[in-house]
């Protein structure tokens, strides 16, 4: 993690296997060079708002994309999403839920809280690779960030 430079992606993931596989997939795409990893919801919020362990981090610029697992220790993904959307400094950051849950309630809740995209982690590795590559492509290369946004 190179300090000083804003990351392309903030990856919030507590499962070590999923983390490694996601990083592996992202590396293969070569779209994102700088990836910051946090392991729970509380750490994610500290990073984003430059608090606690990340107090020395410059607030700006924000990550270009947050990949958020929903089931997290301490502060869960829904709560993290809510806080991101409530704060004027972070409300425009694109957040994609990357989760195992296909439950309708989860999908509805996250969209209600302003998620940008909802991706179910497939069991098959190939499908997983495709999913990660596609969402990286879209959010980092194709999507036009709003004026005064995260760049």
């Amino acid at each position: 993690m190179r300090s000083g430079l804003a990351p392309d992606i903030l990856l919030v993931e507590d499962d070590p296997s999923d983390l490694e596989l996601t990083l592996r997939a992202l590396k293969k795409t070569t779209i994102a060079n700088r990836i910051e990893v946090v392991r729970d919801g509380a750490e994610a919020l500290e990073f984003l708002f430059a608090e606690g362990a990340y107090a020395s981090r410059a607030l700006e610029p924000m990550p270009r994309l947050v990949l958020l697992d929903l089931k997290l220790p301490k502060v869960d993904g829904l709560e993290v999403l809510k806080r991101i959307r409530q704060d004027p400094r972070t409300k425009h950051v694109p957040v994609v839920a990357l989760t195992s849950s296909q439950e309708r309630v989860d999908v509805m809740k996250t969209y209600a809280l302003g998620i940008n995209s909802y991706v179910v982690k497939p069991v098959g590795f190939d499908a997983f690779m495709v999913a990660v590559r596609e969402l990286g492509m879209y959010w980092l290369l194709l999507n036009q960030a709003p004026e005064g946004g995260t760049r």
């Binding site: 999923d18 592996r24 195992s100 849950s101 989860d106 982690k121 069991v123 098959g124």
Partner: protein
């Protein structure tokens, strides 16, 4: 002031006979044995017999035979006591009809040297007598009805001085008031004193209201009856105002203790039932919440390790593939296949749970269009010959029924695939109960009817995975969905010949609630 008879006697005459002759009544005189000595001419006009044929005891011939004995006995008594008499009897008219008369007779004042003599009048009283009889019969009829009724009929008279009485009560009244009946009949207010203190104010108020606007009175109250304990009574009556500001309530009363007890029991049972339903509902809701929690964690936690197994097996192949011997590659393939299959099982199980809990929105559905749509989706590269007969409309949840058809049709395609002349037939037939039964028939591998009981169980499979892919959840979902529609599903098959799956849906009326 002299009576007319005294007046004529004083004059030494006996003019009474002259007067008697002119009376509208039949008048007569007789001796102490009842033998007539004279008759007024009206006798002849009435009986049609000349008077000289009625004198002596001949008059007895025109008395109604049924009255004869009674008349003679009455006469005997009167003659013995020498008292005035009155009797009723029927006298035969000239046309043979008997008419009622009332006879009044007196012994004449004695005359020196003359035998004792009587005189009297017979007055026709037929209409009055008949009217009285009709009245008596009517009254008797009413009393009989009243006395046989389980309701107690009564008249309750209320007087302005606060006293009261029951001028009339029917037999059943005694059953209501038991030992207290005599006291109640002596003093009407005693019935009021037996009313439960809690019910008395309401009862008095309702009677006053009814008395004021002359409306029908109705009330249910508890009474404490000696020997019977507390009983529930119900009364209906109509107030009739009388002279002197009295009012009489005519009505009926009935013991409703049993009904009240039953009502109380029903209420208690209802309460218990409500409580039970509440508990069950709470238990069901808790179970549902638990299931949702379970589903949620299955969805999250069971898939993660599978992803790891699969992902790292892939990574192993990618990163160290060249160093691995051929056997290791085969093992890794098997590991990945296993993980993928496990993933499918989890997904199917989750969708089974999800579909079971999905809201149910029934409406009329074009079955033919639904089947055509499912077939378009499933057909793929299948070479099966598919015949779809005309299908009646169905009533149900579109999304759930789609799952049912998709499952049955994909099964038919799957299990007929090995046949070179695969054929699938979709149609509807009427069941003996008159419901529409849809069916999907294939000429595929079929199944052994010995295992028909396992067809619809979750994770039950009748074929080896090597031969046919599947997790064994499909038909379980079909059965759930069909049951939710109030219908049933069944399958018949024969190994190597084919299988037919049929299902019905509940009627539209059954979903109306």
């Amino acid at each position: 002031m002299l009576k007319p008879s005294e007046f004529v006697l004083r004059r030494g005459l006996d003019p009474a006979f002259a007067l008697f002759d002119e009376l509208l009544q039949l008048s007569w005189t007789c001796d102490s044995r009842g033998a007539l000595s004279s008759l007024s001419p009206r006798w002849e006009a009435y009986t049609g017999k000349p008077c000289d044929q009625l004198v002596g005891h001949a008059w007895l011939e025109v008395i109604h035979p049924e009255d004869l004995e009674r008349v003679l006995e009455a006469w005997k008594q009167a003659a013995k006591r020498r008292e005035p008499f009155t009797w009723d009897y029927r006298l035969r008219r000239h046309d043979g009809a008997y008419r009622w008369f009332v006879a009044r007779g007196l012994v004449m004042p004695p005359v020196e040297g003359q035998p004792e003599a009587w005189f009297g009048f017979s007055t026709e009283s037929h209409e009055m007598f008949e009217a009285r009889q009709v009245l008596e019969r009517e009254q008797e009829r009413l009393v009989r009805i009243a006395d046989v009724s389980p309701y107690a009929f009564y008249s309750f008279e209320l007087r302005p001085d606060g006293s009261a009485s029951f001028p009339y009560v029917s037999k059943a009244f005694r059953a209501l008031y038991g030992e207290a009946t005599d006291e109640v009949l002596r003093d009407g207010m005693h019935a009021v004193r037996l009313v439960h203190p809690d019910d008395l104010p309401g009862m008095v108020a309702s009677m006053q209201r009814s008395q004021a606007d002359l409306s029908v009175w109705h009330y249910e109250w508890r009474a404490r009856v000696p020997g019977r304990g507390e009983v529930w009574l119900e009364g209906h009556s109509v107030p009739v105002p009388e002279a002197d500001r009295r009012v009489t309530f005519h009505g009926v009363m009935v013991d409703i203790t049993e009904r009240k007890m039953r009502e109380a029991q029903i209420e208690q049972l209802n309460d218990q039932l409500e409580g039970k339903v509440k508990n069950r509902t709470a238990a069901l809701e808790a179970a549902n919440r638990e299931l949702e929690g379970f589903t949620y964690s299955v969805s999250h936690d069971l898939r993660a390790p599978l992803r790891a197994i699969n992902g790292f097996a892939q990574a192993l192949v990618e990163d160290y593939g060249p160093q691995l011997p051929e056997g290791a590659h085969r093992y890794l393939d098997t590991v990945q296949q296993g993980a993928r299959r496990m993933g499918r099982l989890i997904d199917d199980l989750l969708s089974f749970g999800r579909l079971s809990r999905q809201p149910f929105n029934p409406r009329r559905i074009d079955t033919g269009a639904l089947v055509a749509e499912c077939l378009r989706e499933l057909r793929g590269d299948s070479t099966a010959r598919i015949v779809v007969h005309p299908l009646p409309a169905s009533f149900g949840d579109a999304s759930l029924l789609r799952h049912v058809w998709l499952q049955l049709l994909s099964n038919a395609l799957k299990f007929s695939k090995p046949k070179s002349d695969a054929a699938i037939e979709v149609g509807a037939a009427e069941t003996p109960e008159g419901d529409d039964a849809f069916f999907v028939r294939d000429n595929g591998v079929g199944f052994n009817m010995q295992y028909v009981g396992k067809l619809f169980g979750v994770f039950q499979r009748l074929h080896r995975s090597d031969d046919f892919e599947g997790t064994g959840v499909g038909l379980a979902i079909v059965e759930r969905m069909v049951h939710r529609h109030g219908g049933r599903v069944w399958g018949i098959g024969e190994v190597g010949v084919g299988a037919t799956f049929s299902f019905t849906l509940g009627s539209e009326a059954a979903h109306a609630d």
